[in-house]
Amino acid sequence: MNDEQLLRYSRQMMLPEIDAAGQEKLSESRVLIVGLGGLGSPVSIYLASAGVGNIVLVDFDKVDISNLQRQIVHTTPDIGRLKIDSAKEHLQAINPDVKIDCIDHALEAKELVNEATKADVIVDASDNFQTRFALNEASVKTKTPLVSGAAIRFEGQVTVFDPRDETSPCYRCLYGDDVATQETCTANGVIAPLLGIIGSIQANETLKLLMGIGETLQGKLLLLDSLYMDLNQAILKKDPACPVCNIS
């Protein structure tokens, strides 16, 4: 680490839980972020700022003016650009030390498993159940921790699924494939700072996982109704009948 890097990361390295060893771990880490929208924006900004060495951005969408109320990694001149290109430029401006790879199509099948295998943490910042189920399966298959966040209207949810621990539930223990809703922020609306709250918690959990410090939200689901600022923590149990994480 050179003098400029020491200065850049000094305010987190002065935390004894992080120190130089934690910073080194971050610089050697690789995080897969799926979705560069309302959640992926704060997640990617905080992970790049903190010095996560390798970040893979996945999104096939382009920046639209209606995104800019909440997707804070993009700016007005980015309208019409691929979100991954817009985000990469912004993140590199914040921290040129970070290596950023971009994937401009839906990650599926072998390619998804390959990226999950290479990643130390997967961040689910997507906006639909289909992608969420696919990321969960890849997480379980490759034993890569999954930091899962979701938000719509005034409601947000965030948790960690860590398949390295056999007692950990997975996303499929929480939501069955009969889940009927396909509500999106585009169709139903969302208040912008809620995405910042949930996305920031996802970033915080990711950094802790990468450095191996503290305790994560594994086995606990945070539920926030931001209209009434009602924050709940639910205990999640592994589903003995789960078709994804209970196949031995």
Binding site: G38, Y175, D230, N232
Partner: protein, 83 residues
């Protein structure tokens, strides 16, 4: 016995009119289950995914059979996938 039912977000529309925020207290019988209580308030099955009894997630099978104790809190959240 009396329990507290909390219906969050879009589900709060199914609570009685005199409910405060997303919460209502009411009497139930010893044979009531999550399913029978939600039927009583006409909450559609397809909107029920996160069911918490005293803060612990209930899997679908438990919702059909598990009975309550006096003072329990049953909380329901709709599914959330946006981002």
């Amino acid at each position: 016995m009396e329990i507290t039912l909390k219906l969050y977000a879009s589900l709060s529309q199914y609570l009685p009119e005199n409910s405060v925020k997303h919460s209502a207290k009411f009497e139930i019988s010893t044979s009531d289950t999550t399913i029978s209580i939600l039927d009583r308030f006409n909450v559609p099955d397809k909107e029920v995914h996160l069911v918490l009894l005293n803060g612990v997630y209930l899997h679908p099978e438990e919702r059909k059979s598990l009975n309550f104790s006096d003072g329990d809190t049953l909380a329901i959240w709709p599914p959330v996938a946006g981002g």
